[in-house]
């Protein structure tokens, strides 16, 4: 299957270090938050791209395999991404499991590919960019726990929901990057 990506790079048939070199160049053309899909047949590229992403500061989301072809998903992050959290209604990630038992909805606002490679069971997926057009899918009479990767996108979404008439909205911090519980995949 193919997951949604903003840019696709075909590195099939290339040997190390070419998939890395091509990925580096392709990544320069993305804006922060966009997702790059890298097609490769080099079996070492999975470990290499994960290590490369970590070293350079991007988010390696995961890899799917389709026969000999691997599809790697990487989300572009910028190094100066530390922004003050502004929405003041927050729930700590480690309290989320208990809170959610009392009802409410976990709203995962990461991109489709990030959600597919691992999300909290029962979490509803609406990528941040689709919030405006899909807001009616979110019930107004329930508590909403907004989660993303680090707490940054969810902060923006929580603010948006609160100002759109949702009465009980919480930003979950930090985010899935620190989640140690079970995850569901949808690949």
């Amino acid at each position: 299957m193919s997951l949604k990506a903003d840019v696709m790079l075909d590195a099939k048939g290339l040997a190390c270090p070419m998939p890395i070199v091509k990925t580096k160049k392709a990544m320069n053309g993305l804006t922060e938050g966009q997702i790059l899909e890298v097609l490769a047949t080099d079996k070492g590229s999975k470990a290499d791209l994960a290590a490369w992403s970590k070293s350079v500061g991007h988010q390696y989301i995961g890899t799917t395999e389709d026969g000999d072809v691997m599809k790697h998903y990487i989300r572009k992050c910028s190094n100066d991404a530390v922004v003050e959290k502004q929405y003041d209604q927050i729930v700590q990630l480690d309290e989320l499991a208990v809170k959610a038992l009392e009802g409410g909805i976990i709203l995962d606002v990461r991109e489709e590919a990030e959600y597919a490679f691992g999300h909290i069971e029962g979490a509803k997926s609406i990528p941040m960019g689709e919030l405006e057009t899909r807001m009616e899918e979110i019930p107004k009479d329930q508590v909403i726990y907004v989660v993303c990767q680090t707490g940054r996108r969810s902060d923006l979404v929580a603010q948006k929901l609160a100002s759109s008439g949702f009465g009980s909205v919480f930003n979950v911090i930090p985010g899935m990057t620190e989640w140690n519980g079970e995850v569901k995949t949808s690949l």
Binding site: P17, I20, V21, T23, K24, W52, V56
Partner: protein
């Protein structure tokens, strides 16, 4: 943490060239500042003619087929790619003098320097690699 990778290329075979340029391009693509110091037979790796036909280790000629099959870039391609990614090439002045070579014998864009030039760069590099 240091962001530098220092490489000494002192051998002139085809395998040596791949080791040097693969690590160099991978490091440069990972936003490292990379310098290669070419000395003794390592100068083959940037020699305009020499780099076109670097020798295989004896008895391993069959591997040439493997290189073609794996779609590995040629050494001149890897050298150009390294430079494009910002890898700095330093040719060893002393070895050039001994071998009667001048800057014109090498690919464009190289610097010529002595051991101290490299040591100055490598003093806070991690890792420093020798091939």
């Amino acid at each position: 943490m240091t962001n530098k990778v220092a490489i000494i290329a002192s051998n002139g075979g085809l395998f040596d060239a791949y080791k040097v340029y693969n690590i160099a391009t991978a490091a440069a693509a990972t936003d490292k500042e990379v310098t290669i110091f070419f000395t003794f037979e390592g100068l083959n790796l940037i020699h305009k003619q020499g780099m076109q036909a670097l020798p295989m280790p004896e008895g391993r000629e069959a591997i040439a087929e493997g290189f073609a099959k794996a779609n590995v870039p040629s050494i001149p391609e890897l050298a150009a790619m390294s430079q494009e990614l910002g890898v700095k090439f330093i040719a060893c002045q002393m070895t050039m003098d001994v071998m009667g070579l001048t800057v014109e014998d090498f690919v464009d864009g190289i610097e010529v320097g002595g051991a101290v030039t490299f040591l100055e760069f490598a003093k806070d590099a991690a890792p420093t690699l020798t091939f």
